[in-house]
């Protein structure tokens, strides 16, 4: 596996090595990306202030040739003095898939750790400091957000560990999902249950896309991925566990604001099941 050589003219921000690269794939998110970026900066600055610790980070937006003003908005944000060193735009020619968007962002990532998240504000940037703290706590290679951990588990085999549940009890923020009807919840639970039976992954939320990776771990995993969509997220976490990488979970909130316009169709379900079966035979 070869990685593209990039010119990294600035390895530091304000004289500090960059620790965290936040990669956000976008397509037609002109308003969301601006709000998301503002909230990320707010969350990180609060964490820096609370811990009295310098944390150097960057935000890399991988835009797939949005047809709205997404790239224009990002360039406007880059012109603002306090944001110019933090925000990077790495556009692509078209919609080329989520996995390849992460790989593209990874080429430019200067941080020791990479955080991936969605651009539509379904992931709350306030959780980023919790990912960071969790990673520091156990020197984990991967910290994944879970929408399911807050729920009392019927089977202890799906519970991660007591320390995660204790942390959840002390959490000020609510965890779980918002905006899903019963049908969506049922689909999610059935899909997750099937995946647990077939893959025994050791994490409660397989398809989530709000994660922190050690950059070297992400590089090792992402180039071997064969899946797309939901299955991509499943495959990477399953391979991480099977590959002996240390994985932890953090409860997150997931506010689905686009569910009404993007229902799960038969083709998505069939794609998911076929991907699951392929993973079952290969992992």
């Amino acid at each position: 596996t070869t990685t593209t050589t990039t010119t990294k003219t600035k390895k530091k921000i304000n004289g500090r090595d960059i620790e965290y690269s936040i990669i956000i794939p976008t397509y037609n998110e002109q308003l969301n990306i601006a709000m998301l970026f503002t909230l990320i900066v707010e969350a990180m600055e609060k964490e820096i202030k609370d811990r009295n610790k310098n944390i150097s980070y960057e935000v890399i937006v991988v835009d797939d040739n949005s047809q709205d003003q997404t790239q224009h908005v990002i360039r406007k944000l880059q012109k603002i003095e306090k944001y110019k060193d933090i925000l990077c735009l790495k556009p692509r020619k078209g919609k080329l898939g989520l996995g390849s968007a992460y790989i593209h962002g990874l080429h430019f990532a200067r941080g020791q750790f990479v955080i991936i998240m969605d651009a539509d504000l379904s992931h709350n940037p306030k959780a980023i400091p919790e990912f960071i703290r969790k990673q520091e706590e156990g020197d984990y290679d991967v910290v994944t957000g879970t929408r399911y951990l807050a729920s009392p588990s019927f089977s202890s085999s799906f519970r991660i560990n007591n320390s995660s549940n204790k942390a959840n009890k002390n959490k000020k923020e609510e965890c779980g999902v918002y905006g899903w009807d019963t049908r969506r919840k049922l689909t999610s639970r059935v899909a997750n249950y099937l995946a647990h039976i077939l893959l025994n992954p050791g994490v409660s939320d397989l398809t989530g896309s709000f994660r922190l990776y050690r950059k070297s771990t992400f590089q090792a995993l992402v180039n071997t991925m064969q899946s797309v969509g939901y299955v991509f997220q499943m495959e990477i976490i399953v391979r991480a566990k099977k590959g002996g990488f240390k994985v932890a979970e953090v409860p997150i909130s997931f506010v689905d604001r686009v569910y009404g316009s993007s229902k799960l169709g038969a083709s998505e379900i069939i794609g998911y099941l076929s991907g699951l079966v392929r993973l079952f035979f290969s992992v």
């Binding site: 002109q30 601006a34 603002i80 709350n124 019927f154 779980g176 639970r189 409860p251 997931f254």
Partner: protein
């Protein structure tokens, strides 16, 4: 070890235990074919042992159904987080207008689309 191997080993162990139970209880006599043994069964214990795999499948199906229904009923939700997000969005939109990234008209148009 791959998951498929784990499940294969589990299945093989279960099969071995089941056949062993059938032999030990006398439900499976080696001088007759398996079908003969199955259709000649009269004792309730033997019937139970022959039906054991089916019983296990049914029990697993019931367990799965109960687990899924329970986990849907107690699916964690975050209405307060959604409210807080709404407030954060309004606040950041005002900040972005102040910074000159958007005009109020643009914000209004984007929110309505």
């Amino acid at each position: 070890m791959r998951r498929i191997h784990q499940l294969g080993i589990t299945f093989t162990v279960f099969l071995a235990v089941w056949v062993s139970l059938l032999h030990q209880s006398g439900a499976l006599k080696s001088n007759k074919s398996v079908l003969h043994n199955f259709f000649d069964t009269t004792s309730p214990l033997h019937v139970f042992l022959w039906c054991l795999p089916l019983i296990c499948i049914v029990v697993f199906a019931i367990y799965s159904l109960v687990h899924i229904i329970y986990s849907v009923m107690y699916f964690p939700t975050c209405p307060k987080a959604a409210e807080m997000l709404k407030r954060d969005m309004k606040r950041t939109q005002k900040e972005l207008v102040k910074l000159g990234v958007f005009t109020p008209k643009q914000i209004k148009e984007m929110n309505s689309s």
